[in-house]
């Protein structure tokens, strides 16, 4: 997120998501604004509750990273065991998505082209680039030479014309 209004301490679930949740759970029910605000804060409390318990379970295990398994055990120990079936479904979806992503990236790496062919293409591109650079350098050198020649000729002719027209200079002095 590039722009952030509000400081770090006001970290909550977005109000819009909560409003949507309320609308879908209680269609055609009016909910007071301060009640909605309370719901937003209940989310934060719930997240901390689960995190804290999962963290303690994680610490007791020999792992350093809180895993989905720790979260599932936390739900169980906090009395939310009825959530576990659905949570496990989401976990399965996560694993499927991760697997697809890994496969896709390895497919992209190969692009169906064998490594030797990729190497050959690379060499070709390098050779072409080198050639272009050489041509460019040669052109620049040529231009420099031509410019130097012109400068020389200009200097030679101007000194010649200076000697010829020096008598006229005194007339031009008052301009």
């Amino acid at each position: 997120m590039a722009s952030s209004s509000g400081n770090d301490d006001d970290l909550t679930i977005p109000r819009a998501a909560i409003n949507k949740m309320i609308k879908e759970t209680l269609p055609n029910v009016r909910v007071a604004n301060d009640a909605r605000e309370l719901v937003v804060n209940c989310c934060t409390e719930f997240i901390h509750l689960i995190s804290s318990e999962a963290n303690e379970i994680c610490n007791k295990s020999d792992k350093k990273t809180i895993s989905p398994e720790h979260v599932i055990n936390a739900l169980e120990s906090l009395g939310f065991a009825s959530y576990i079936t659905e949570v496990k479904d989401v976990l399965q979806e996560c694993k499927t998505v991760a697997l697809k992503r890994r496969k896709a990236s390895s497919r992209l790496e190969n692009l169906g082209i064998p490594e030797e062919e990729l190497l050959r293409q690379q060499q070709e591109l390098f050779a072409k680039a080198r050639q272009q650079q050489a041509e460019l350098a040669q052109q620049e050198w040529l231009q420099m030479q031509q410019a130097a020649q012109r400068a020389q000729m200009a200097a030679a002719s101007s000194s010649a014309s200076q000697q010829a027209g020096s008598s006229q200079d005194e007339e031009d002095d008052d301009v």
Binding site: M21, V29, L38, N41, C43, I47, P68, F80, Y83
Partner: protein, 126 residues
């Protein structure tokens, strides 16, 4: 941001959930799937909280779900007792002046959340 595709079929942003989790300095590294499954657990939790609160609203023959109804629901349901202090803070007279229900979770765990601790001391003085 142009066309942000939803990577996972969850309702709440996993990136935001992760940030909220990491406000707790004790929480270290988090596997990628964790905020995603917490999003789903949160969804189920809210569904339960809202539905049960609405029952209170209906029992009061009210047309609008209010904070008072939520408070009654939270107090009557053991599973929601972790929200008791939050709702008490929100319904106290000082909160009505402030109208900011900041997280009271640290009170359970005694972590160092300076901003919340400051607010806590402020409310004690009234």
């Amino acid at each position: 941001m142009p066309g942000h595709k939803r990577r996972y079929n969850v309702r709440f942003p996993p990136s935001r959930i992760k940030k909220i989790m990491q406000k707790d300095t004790e929480v270290g590294r988090i596997a990628m799937a964790v905020p995603v499954i917490i999003s789903r657990a949160l969804e189920m939790f809210l569904k339960s909280l809202l539905t049960k609160t609405c029952l209170v609203t209906q029992s009061k023959l009210s047309g609008v779900v209010s904070v008072a109804h939520m408070k009654q629901c939270i107090e009557s349901e053991k599973l929601f007792h972790f929200l008791k202090e939050l709702v008490e803070r929100v319904t106290s007279t000082t909160a009505q002046r402030d109208n900011r229900g900041l997280s009271v979770w640290p009170l359970y765990r005694r972590r160092s959340f300076t901003s919340v601790c400051n607010l806590f001391y402020v409310t004690l003085n009234f």
